[in-house]
Amino acid sequence: MSKVQIMTGNSAAAAAVMLCDVQVVAAYPITPQSQLAEMMSQYIESGELKAEYVRVEGEHTALTVCISASTVGARVFTATSANGLLYMHEQLHWAAGARLPIVMCCVNRGVGAPWTIFNDQQDSLAQRDTGWIQLYCRNNQEIHDTILQAYRIAESVYVPVMVCYDGFVLSHTMMPVDIPEQEGVREYLPPYKPHTILTPDDPRCLNPVLFPNRRADSEGVLRDGYMEMRYKLEAALEKALGAITEASDTFAKRFGRDHGGLVWGYRTEDAELHLVAMGSLASEATLAADALRARGIRAGVTGIRAFRPFPKAAVRKALQGAKAAVVFEKSISYGNEGALCTEIKGALFGTGIEPAVYNYIAGLGGRDVKARELEAAAGESWDDLSAGRREKNTTWLNCVTE
């Protein structure tokens, strides 16, 4: 029997990692991830989880430990936030390039300077081109379930997965979470089968210097050049679209909970106005959609769960009947607009599905975002559309810009 517990997002994450038979954990504390690092050491020191815990001296090392342990065949876990994630940047590329199915929680936090400990998603969004799969969670149950799914996804396509959830808003907020039984999880997530193991039984040199072009090995067989390897990583991310959907569908069948695979919708069947967002902001948007409906605007929410790979087809399908898509996001690609907005526009361009797209940057550095603020912003966009203003500059929600 599964059991329901009232727990924080970090506890929900730790409970999921426990269930995944993880063998090596290495993490370095950073607010708001710290509790997760502490809980993992608690589980391992008490013997509840039979795993090695490496108490590293920094995040670059934390991910390196996971990379090497994964290379010898262990299932590994790490977690970080903000500047810790940025400090890992070199190793993020390394993990994806080496095709290691590492799972990491990114407890989203704004990036310094200046310092903030509070939430936005600039940290993980800034790592979007490292080759990692990125999944965004909207509540604590989803955090828990997404970690179970993440290992299944990572180990089916050999690409690392970042499970992102909002610092404090979710990491430190209590909610009921249904924890499944170990046995069921083991069936859902069989033991890790590495594609290559570094072992004296079959000596190999892994990740050596590569030439741009293909080269023959000692048997005369042509092997990949650097570009072929990069292409295969890209192809694996495309394949991950299916793996994410599969992991989600199979999970729903087995455990009775469906968080949506790539994207999810709320009251979207007949929606003309879509609020588009990721993470807890998308949850908040559902309240705004209800309020807009009460005002007679047919509103719904398209929640983005997978940001990498970006689910273009699913986004097109979701926004098919939309007249306006109002994209709210807790990050910015400086000098352009919100990264999610660019992705949405890119997915729709030239398809004939062309709602007006409005962009709002919201809640940076933990500034509270209320449903009524989202409602007002979406309502304002609706008015713009009615007035024929389809193009508008990105708006900074609730920010004094003069």
């Binding site: 063998q23 090596v24 290495a26 795993a51 090695e52 490496v54 108490r55 590293v56 001296e57 920094g58 670059h60 090392t61 390196t64 430990v65 996971c66 990379i67 090497s68 342990a69 994964s70 290379t71 010898v72 065949g73 262990a74 590994v76 070199e90 190793q91 390394w94 570094l198 072992t199 004296p200 079959d202 000596p203 190999r204 040199c205 892994l206 990740n207 050596p208 210097v209 590569l210 030439f211 080269r215 023959a216 090995d217 000692s218 092997r223 990949d224």
Partner: protein, 299 residues
């Protein structure tokens, strides 16, 4: 019982034809180290000349498993290998991290210090060719004072070499040793010994580099010997905090017959800018360090 001249492992773990330069001291050290470490070994390495020696995908001349990693992460990678192998009940495999002086003295010091502080069960080898050779002979903090490098091309390096062995000593680890490929038996014995000890072991290898030091490739063994015979790079071990000279340095300490450093410096183009005053300053530094070691032997 240590293996010796008559029992040295005859098996080769490096096939003929690596990509290192002609006369490279690194290949010599690697050959003897692998003979001593034998089969059940995993090597991890960062970007450096060793990475080049390992070969280009899809072929390698090296017969032990090796993991390439990023520049700053050698000891961290070893920590991950050790943890992974423990988790899989394969803890009898020897994990060896091998990095150049740049990846050790400069970028990798944090990860190495972390691993040593945790008492990670592995051998860390710094092969010290006294510069960033893979990127074309730039200055590292291991470059001796007075040496020309491509980033100290006119004025020469102004600061003395970082005393890295002292830093490692401060970590109170299980075993510290220095070795030179010019004295392969001493080197071999130290790797055999290190393999048997548990905890963090640190071995510092002085590796002559013909293009970087500017001398003919045929003189590599001679250059390594001169470094030892002048007392510039003494051979020793520190086991459980106890210091002792080994091999050639031991007999020299007993007999007091060190050669002047000028014998070593004058044979390398990189020191050609040194004047008489700098040479005597250099000799004083070597003397002071040698006396420090002598006092440790007595104490």
């Amino acid at each position: 019982m240590p293996e010796n001249l008559f029992k040295i492992n005859s098996k080769e773990y490096i096939l003929p034809g690596s990509r290192a330069c002609q006369g490279c001291g690194l290949s010599l050290f690697y050959r003897y180290a692998l003979k001593a470490l034998r089969e059940n070994t995993i090597v991890t390495l960062p970007a450096c000349c060793l990475c080049v020696l390992q070969g280009l995908y899809p072929s390698t001349p090296v017969m032990v498993p090796a993991l390439n990693n990023s520049f700053a992460s050698t000891a961290a990678s070893a920590s991950g290998l050790v943890a992974g192998l423990r988790a899989l009940n394969k803890a009898d495999t020897t994990v060896v991290a091998i990095a150049g002086d740049g990846a050790t003295f400069d970028m990798g010091i944090q990860a190495l210090s972390g691993a040593a502080e945790r008492g990670t069960d592995f051998i860390y080898v710094c092969y010290d060719n006294e510069g960033y050779m893979n990127t074309g002979t730039q200055r590292s903090s291991a470059t001796p004072m007075g040496a020309l490098t491509t980033t100290t091309p006119i004025l020469t390096k102004q600061q003395p070499k970082k005393d890295f062995l002292k830093i490692m000593e401060a970590h109170n680890i299980a075993y510290i040793a220095t070795a030179s490929p010019s004295y392969p038996l001493d080197l071999y014995d130290k790797f055999v010994k290190a393999k048997k000890i548990r905890g963090t072991r640190y071995i510092h290898i002085h590796v002559p580099c013909p293009p970087g030091w500017v001398y003919p490739p045929k003189d590599t063994v001679k250059m390594g010997r001169l470094a030892v015979e002048t007392g510039l790079f003494p051979l020793f071990e520190i086991e459980n905090g106890k210091f002792r000279f080994t091999g050639r340095s031991k007999t020299q300490a007993e007999r007091g017959n060190r050669l002047p450093v000028i014998n070593y410096l004058e044979k390398q183009g990189r020191f050609r800018k040194m004047d008489a005053e700098q040479l005597s300053q250099f000799q004083s530094m070597v003397d002071a360090k040698w006396d420090e070691y002598l006092r440790k032997t007595e104490g």
